[in-house]
Symmetry: C2
DNA sequence: GTGAAAGCGCTAACAA
DNA sequence: TTGTTAGCGCTTTCAC
């Protein structure tokens, strides 16, 4: 079946391509196209099953109606949630999403951004990875609109949609303090990502402001390549050696790894130990007790990322840093005060 | 910063655009471009930070190096796993993925397919939704290469990558029978999707071939909009009324909902009841005992989907239906024989 | 009201 | 070896 173009319709109806273009783009009124002709064009387009070539359109108008999205790993709950929100919001505005997963590699991240740019995306939504500052800085020079999401860099001023990680961690820690805990541990990844560092900062500040001495040993860092072994050691240290009575995990994956280890070591929640998680996980549904946690507003983040980006594309740019609050989801994993 | 095109480089170096095009597309040898000139062109392109306009290229060559992907819901473990595999395999072949999530709506599915086609994707990978046969049939007429994945329709003959759902369910049921179970329940969604129906068929056949009378009451159907309430009733019926001693859940989400309910009703696994799951879930990690299950080869499915599609795009090929086996992952959720 | 034609950035056949 | 040029399918200005 031959591809149908404007010309085919024009020939068929016996008019010029210009008219066909007007009509099919909803400019029939504006251009005062004859009613009958317009109707005939529409009908023929339908009959011939005309599909506009978006590439040609984009090439001409210099606008692809496409946004590029790079997430860290589509298998993360965070990524799939945000992707779903972004795709659906983009679609509402008639944009299509071109997609890539960097798998936390800065090389792949860089390459993906370039590929997306070559595909003439109108803008980018990026979850940057560690050490991707150079790519982002290069991007800034190119004047292509983009927004960062979830993560940022101190050295880069850009449109950013972030959680208020500091406050969320602070509040969560205070929650544990209110429950009467004094020896509160915080398990985080070893990482330079600001969102994670901010969580540590919030935790530390909460302890300090409530007159609790923070022991360095209470904040073990887990190496992402060695989660299982590091976590095993961490849980043992925190409970048996440091006698902590509460553990606050910095991410969902750490919570899962930690809770698994806690189960193995037959530590009872919340009798022996209180647990709080940053992020939620499907896995919590099958844990022996509901896990109290801070929930990320994925839907909202995705939606705001898109609207911010579209603003950037359509209007002129003001740099905007948006901090979203988490939602506190009470469970039964913290002992009663 | 003005956009740099081939012409700019040509002017800069003092040659024609053709030469620049040749060199930058690796045809320098073939076209016998002067070594020095070639080098100069490459250097200038680099300096000017030239980025090829993929749209123009595609328009001209009638090839976008882009594949469209429509999944049912990117939040499913299945979808994100398959998407990751597809994206990474596509990238290996220099293809980019344009993405959409149908959210199990046939209207959205149809629309997405059209949008992707308008974007001139070279081919499509689709996870069809219920009642999307008409869209698929229309697609077949258009001669755009596509492969279906995970789901198919009896009335449609197309390139398809499927699980061998029948065999996987059959084998899993036999596994339970071998463990000495006689009253084995199978909990599935109420759905017309063939992959789910095949699982029911496998289960039923296994019972029959092992001389076990199948009671209709042992196969409750859960309505996807009422999982919680339907599951509550189902679990109660199966255990208290039907006295089943094993339950086989047809999907990961059903397993989670079922296990949650089982926990609530204080039924012990595997002492009181054996449990087997089709699909795995992160959630199993925190269940009181490891759940035996059949694992889908997501990586492989994604990879094969891409290679099949690329074959279809590049050569012309016969219709191919590929059935992949699941992997049996033993847990401790089935009582010992 | 309608049509002719330029040109978006690129490829590739053809000419020189 | 290198350059010229005709489009790919579409939008849009300008002329009629």
């Amino acid at each position: 079946m031959k591809k149908i173009g404007l010309k085919d319709i024009a020939n068929h109806v016996g008019v010029s391509v210009a008219l066909v273009s007007y009509v099919l783009n909803g400019q029939a009124e504006e251009k005062q196209v004859g009613k009958e002709i317009a109707e005939k064009i529409r009908k023929t387009a339908e009959e011939l099953n005309y599909r506009p070539n978006q590439l040609a359109k984009s090439l001409k108008t210099n606008k692809s109606n496409t946004i590029g999205l790079v997430v860290a790993d589509i298998n993360y709950r965070f990524s799939s949630g945000i992707t779903r929100a972004i795709e659906s919001e983009a679609k509402r505005s008639n944009y299509t999403v071109i997609f890539g997963s960097s798998n936390e590699s800065k090389e792949k991240f860089h390459e993906l951004v370039n590929v997306l740019i070559n595909h003439q995306v109108d803008g980018l939504i990026l979850v940057p990875v560690e050490n991707s500052e150079p790519s982002i800085k290069a991007l800034q020079k190119s004047e292509i609109p983009f927004v960062l999401i979830d993560r940022n860099f101190p050295s880069i001023l850009a449109n950013t949609i972030l959680l208020d990680n500091y406050k969320a961690a602070y509040d969560s820690t205070v929650h544990l303090i209110r429950h009467g805990h004094k020896r509160i541990a915080f398990v985080n990844y070893q990482s330079k990502l600001t969102n994670l560092l901010e969580r540590t900062r919030g935790y530390t500040a909460a302890l300090k402001e409530h007159g609790i001495d923070h022991h360095h040993e209470w904040s073990p860092l887990i190496r992402s390549g060695h989660v299982e072994s590091d976590m095993k050691k961490a849980i043992h240290d925190l409970t048996a050696v440091q006698k902590c009575d509460a553990i606050f995990f910095a991410t969902d994956r750490l919570s899962i790894a930690g809770l698994k280890e806690i189960m193995k070591q037959k530590i009872r929640i919340p009798e022996d130990l209180s647990v709080f998680s940053f992020d939620e996980s499907e896995a919590f549904e099958l844990f022996s007790c509901p896990v109290s946690h801070a929930r990320q507003p994925l839907e909202k983040m995705g939606k705001i990322a898109v609207t911010t980006l579209l603003d950037l594309i359509n209007k002129d740019k003001v740099i905007n840093q948006i901090f979203l609050p988490t939602e506190f989801v009470p469970g039964k994993s913290c002992r009663e005060p």
